[in-house]
């Protein structure tokens, strides 16, 4: 890894929150104790202006995690070099503790769909995603974390469970895992599968971050809105994950119907309480 990186590691037993524009002023005024702040990388891709200036300001006080929604790891379209250049530039400016992307695809035929779309879990997908993860890691000069996504549909052609797919991806590329406990729960409920299967499949040593968020229940199933408090079932699954993995930097994500900063801090404190009870045993150093 390039020597210029001096990542400020997130506090392993202190939760972070998603940094959103509406909270800039309140967060700057209060400077609450948080493990880290996470942003959507693309919202800071601008050449200049207020957004990146705010992020640099917060970076003085907090470890920052860059969470990309646009690299489109699984797309059959070529990797977007200009997109990766902007991500690399942002990494240089912010020196993030963590850089993550989603196990999904977002564009076809050059048209971007603006969504995290699911992949069939096949050997072809695995080879393809592994090649691209490796290319991105080489471009950035650092490992990335890959997150399990919400998948409202599953493919008849899938040959392996999601957890095994991710575990194998980590083995082949050296990438780390961003375990979204809410996504695991939403998928399990929507497809009638076991939410704990992914916990069993993934090597605990590869998990570098956990995501928590709220969903909405609809007649078509649970929808991962990031627009509510974390559900009781998801807290329970999180507690299981933490007891298995030890303390892992945990993010409370909230994007839709953003509440006051206090609500996010309250959710983060709840995660802190669970992290505080975890044994640090089973993990190896990052």
């Amino acid at each position: 890894m390039p020597a210029r990186f001096a990542p400020r590691a997130p506090h392993p037993a202190k939760a972070g929150i998603g940094l959103r524009t509406a909270h800039f002023e309140a967060l700057a005024a209060r400077s609450p104790a948080l493990g880290f702040l996470e942003v959507h990388s693309e919202n800071y891709f601008a050449d200049g202006g207020p957004a990146i200036a705010w992020l640099e300001r917060f970076r003085r006080d907090y470890a920052v995690s860059l969470h990309g929604v646009g690299a489109s790891l699984g797309s059959a379209d070529p990797l977007d070099a200009a997109h990766l250049d902007r991500l690399a530039r942002l990494c240089e400016r912010i020196e993030p503790a963590l850089v993550s992307e989603h196990l999904c695809w977002s564009s076809a035929g050059g048209a971007h769909l603006g969504e995290l779309l699911p992949l069939p879990y096949t050997e072809e997908s695995l080879r393809h995603v592994a090649t691209r993860v490796t290319a991105i890691q080489e471009r950035l000069g650092r490992p990335i974390l890959v997150e399990n996504v919400t998948a409202y549909v599953r493919f008849a052609s899938s040959t392996v469970p999601e957890g095994e797919f991710i575990a194998e991806l980590a083995r082949r590329t050296g990438c780390r895992v961003l375990l979204d406990v809410n996504n695991a729960w939403v998928n399990a409920v929507n497809h009638g599968t076991d939410a704990r299967a992914i916990l069993r499949a993934i090597d605990p040593a590869t998990v570098g971050e956990i995501h928590l968020a709220g969903f909405a229940a609809t007649e078509d199933g649970l929808v991962d809105t990031h627009g509510a408090r974390v559900a009781a079932d998801v807290w329970a699954l999180y507690a299981e994950a933490v007891s298995l993995l030890g303390p892992v930097p945990t993010l409370v994500e909230w994007d839709t119907d953003l509440p006051a900063l206090e609500v996010l801090l309250d959710e983060a404190a709840r995660a802190d309480a669970i992290l505080a009870g975890a044994r640090p045993a089973r993990r190896v150093a990052a």
Partner: protein, 91 residues
């Protein structure tokens, strides 16, 4: 030609006299509009849009798809207040 030279010379001399321009901070709160007698408009729009990037987190939970209807082709916003009054200047 000479008067043109004179105009250029005086414009450049003005810049030299002005010296170094201001260096704005990117996180400045809303200050007074910069110098000039002309009206300057500050902006209320929040700026960067958090939903500008992909994720279903930002998507609406609409229960139904919206089918095109005739009324979607009739402007129904504040433009009614502008009526048919607006006109380009007669030149």
């Amino acid at each position: 030609m000479n008067s043109k030279r004179a105009l250029i010379r005086s414009a450049v001399a003005g810049l030299v006299a002005a010296g170094l321009g201001q260096a704005p901070s990117a996180i400045a709160s809303d200050g007074a509009a910069p110098a000039g007698k002309e009206k300057c408009y500050g902006i209320a729009k929040a700026g960067q849009n958090d939903c500008g990037t992909a994720t279903h987190a930002c998507a609406g939970l609409a229960k139904k798809d919206n089918a095109p209807d005739e009324w979607k082709y009739v402007p129904k916003g504040t433009c009614t207040k502008l009526g048919g009054k607006l006109k380009p200047p007669g030149k």
